[in-house]
């Protein structure tokens, strides 16, 4: 299909690169280190030197010691978060696609909702999965996304609320549309 890759097109080269990380992300989205060189510009200067489109907001979430919450409290709350997260069967889940020679791995926590996830999967595997509908599933699409849940059952992606999906998804499988018919039909 896309064998005739145009090598002068950066995008395609990147798409076939074997690397850790999701297609569509690049280095600039790495997490900022927690030590941020302090910003000595006054707030007025900041206002005049950038408008909202140009200036990415400073990584304020990771300024040292801000917001002023004591370490003890922060640790306790983080642990509580982790505890509710620890039921998650791995945030990194394997993704297989019928006919693909090897599997991929994605971090489903990175996505905020189903459309984001589906777009990423479509990009990663160069397939089209269409739009989810409750009645028809992904009927009509070439491929359909499915997942194995905590109980070991294979489910259609999209049926349950996103948060519930994130905590119960153990692995993903992009099935051929024809095979997925059984899952999608009501």
């Amino acid at each position: 299909m896309e064998k005739g890759v145009a090598y002068d097109n950066d995008m395609n080269l990147k798409a076939t690169e074997l690397r850790l990380g999701l297609p569509g992300t690049d280095e600039s989205q790495k997490e900022y280190s927690s030590f941020v060189k302090s910003n000595k510009r006054s707030s007025e200067e900041m206002d005049s030197s950038c408008n909202e489109e140009e200036c990415a907001p400073a990584p304020k979430a990771l300024v040292v010691g801000w917001p002023p919450v004591r370490s003890y409290r922060k640790n306790v709350l983080q642990q509580q978060q982790k505890k509710s997260d620890s039921d998650v069967s791995g945030m990194y889940v394997k993704v297989s696609m019928d006919g693909a020679p090897y599997l991929r791995k994605i971090d489903i926590k990175v996505y905020k909702n189903y459309p984001d996830l589906l777009i990423a999967l479509e990009n990663m595997f160069k397939c089209s999965m269409g739009v989810y509908s409750e009645r028809e599933g992904y009927n009509g699409s070439e491929y359909a996304p499915t997942y194995e849940d905590k109980d070991g059952d294979w489910m259609l992606v999209g049926d349950v609320p996103w948060d519930m999906f994130v905590t119960s998804c153990k692995r993903l499988r992009i099935m051929k549309g024809s095979e997925a018919k059984g899952l999608g039909c009501q």
């Binding site: 304020k60 010691g65 922060k74 709350l77 978060q81």
Partner: protein
């Protein structure tokens, strides 16, 4: 006046009446003066008394039994030992407050050991030690435990450097222990075995707080301890204690005034649930409730019976929703103090406004401080709602992601008696989200309306105008915290010039420079301390300050890789002890 009373112990019977006597004819004998002064407890009063005259200074120093040292480096153990011969209780505070937020490197100092060595020599009958933001090792704890036979009360808040091994020593050796209060410390938890070190004869405990320790303790040891300590009034257990274990403890100690529960989540049989409910309803004296980790609507109802008498409810570790909070506060009409997480949202705060008319203190902590999503947490609406219903509010700590000038103005109209106003808009430099203007008018309203304001923490987009307001109106202000605020030196200058009662000023990431720093040259000796980090201060200005003011300690810490001329972190404090002798290499004393 009876002439006999005019005599002092030292003077002969005639000298007091002679017209040439250097003593005032209204002299009290020492015994009377000392008797009177021994009734004075406030350290501020005692300070005033000691300044009256030499005799009063002496009488005061002989009668002082409680020592309060707000900055451990402002004085030395030797000086203290010389002045006060009869100390039974010591409170010592160490690191600057911003160390709570990781702005002070480890091994900065504030080690208590040299103080303990002095105490062992001069105050062998020491009974109480309360430390805040101090460093202490297990060796120090062992030393403490074995050097003071009458030792009764140990309270450690935000301290570091020790482990549960040190606690073992305390439990083992302090036979008359009445209080062990371990709060929010950075310690190594090697297990709960320390609790089992209390001897079976120990029955004197009145206060036991180990809520912030994580390891399991022996429930059997704890239960026996609680059973034999009939005077136990404050018990705060840790997460390892389950609900049914809690029930067993409550049955042994229905007299508790303050209770910190363990984990509030467990599958209970109906019988267990009932027993728990009964146990709570039998606690007729309960005024404070905390802990409640992982509490959900399933188990909260067991508390309802006990809520009627509650004056302080600390839910700051319970991720409650608005409906869960609503039900709790509906049963707690006598609340004076309430601490919650912002998971309760504005809706939850509305119910606080309608259910707790006597509320005086509200703290709303962020459940997820690094979450930038505006759809979580509380907004100005919640604060407004509380201010409408709780007119007696005078202490607030409020973490939010959006605020408006108008809301704050209304809030202080509703509650003009604020003494402590700490507003933290979590995104630095965030303007009024409706008008996009700076939040100057908000804090202007606060200082204009709340004439009794003692403590203020500002946030949001702020220009020098905020500080002009503060300098002009905040005449009772003692503590000011500033972050990411101000436009120029003028801001800080206004505060230094205008706030006569200012004692503690802590500033970070604000554009105040040398002119601002030096404008306070005469002010700093009247204050406990000044902290400035990530501002525009240079080493030369700090050196100038140090040179001009020998009774100030001017300390600088530099950040990695920063310019040699920049003074990244400046800590200035008055001291009669001279420069620190224990400063680590990264603390430059100028």
């Amino acid at each position: 006046m009876d002439p006999k009373l005019k005599k002092t112990k030292d003077s002969s019977s005639n000298s007091a009446n002679s017209p040439d006597s250097t003593h005032s004819s209204f002299l009290f004998p020492d015994e009377v003066l000392e008797r009177v002064l021994s009734l004075l407890h406030s350290h501020k009063d005692r300070s005033s008394v000691s300044l009256v005259c030499k005799d009063w200074y002496n009488a005061e120093r002989w009668t002082r039994t409680k020592l309060f040292i707000g900055n451990c480096y402002s004085v030395s153990p030797e000086i203290v030992a010389r002045r006060f011969p009869r100390i039974k209780s010591v409170t010592l505070k160490g690191k600057p407050r911003f160390s709570d937020f990781n702005l002070v490197p480890q091994y900065w100092g504030a080690d208590v050991h040299s103080w303990l060595v002095m105490f062992a020599k001069v105050y062998p009958f020491l009974e109480e030690l309360r430390l805040k933001r101090m460093t202490l090792s297990d060796e120090s704890l062992k030393f403490l435990a074995t050097s003071f036979p009458g030792f009764k009360a140990l309270s450690l808040l935000s301290c570091d450097g020790f482990s549960t091994d040190g606690l073992k020593a305390i439990a083992t050796h302090c036979k008359n222990l009445t209080e062990l209060d371990i709060q929010e410390n950075g310690i190594d938890d090697f297990g709960g075995g320390w609790l089992s070190c209390f001897s079976e004869n120990c029955s004197s405990l009145e206060v036991l707080n180990f809520a912030s320790l994580s390891s399991d303790v022996s429930f059997d040891a704890l239960e026996k301890l609680v059973r034999r300590c009939k005077s136990l009034r404050i018990l705060k257990v840790n997460k390892s204690i389950s609900l049914d274990q809690l029930q067993q403890l409550l049955v042994q100690a229905p007299q508790l005034i303050e209770l910190g529960t363990g984990s509030f989540q467990q599958e209970l049989t109906p019988r267990q649930y009932e027993d728990l409910e009964t146990a709570f309803s039998n606690c007729k004296n309960l005024q404070t409730l905390s802990g409640l980790w992982e509490a959900t609507s399933l188990h909260l109802p067991v508390l309802y019976a006990a809520c009627a008498s509650l004056t302080f409810l600390n839910l700051s570790y319970a991720t409650l929703r608005s409906d869960e909070l609503a039900k709790l506060v509906a049963h707690s009409p006598n609340l004076r103090r309430l601490w919650v997480l912002d998971t309760v949202e504005d809706k939850g705060l509305e119910t606080v406004g309608s259910s707790c008319p006597l509320l005086e203190e509200l703290r709303v902590y962020p459940a997820d401080p690094f979450e930038l999503d505006l759809h979580h947490g509380v907004t100005e609406a919640g604060f407004l709602a509380v201010s409408h219903g709780c007119r007696k509010l005078h202490y607030v700590l409020y973490f939010c992601r959006q605020m408006t000038n108008a809301a704050v103005a209304t809030i202080v109209q509703n509650c003009p008696d604020f003494t402590h106003f700490r507003l933290c808009i979590m995104n630095p430099g965030e303007p009024d989200y409706l008008t996009n203007e700076p939040m100057d008018e908000a804090f202007g309203a606060v200082v204009k309306t709340c004439t009794n304001l003692q403590r203020l923490a500002v946030s949001g987009l702020l220009t020098d105008l905020t500080f002009e307001y503060i300098g002009r109106y905040a005449k009772n202000l003692e503590t000011l915290s500033v972050a990411f605020a101000g436009s120029s030196d003028r801001g800080m200058q206004c505060v230094l010039q205008g706030c006569p009662k200012l004692r503690k000023l802590e500033i970070r990431d604000s554009p105040f420079g040398n002119a601002a720093l030096l404008s306070g040259v005469e002010k700093y000796e009247t204050m406990r301390s000044l902290w400035m980090s990530a501002c525009n201060v240079t080493m030369s200005a700090c050196r100038l300050l140090a040179k001009d003011m020998p009774r100030l300690n001017v300390e600088v810490m530099r950040d990695e890789g920063s310019d040699d001329r920049q003074a990244d972190k400046v800590y200035v404090y008055r001291s009669v002890a001279g420069p620190r002798r224990d400063a680590p290499p990264f603390v430059l004393t100028l």
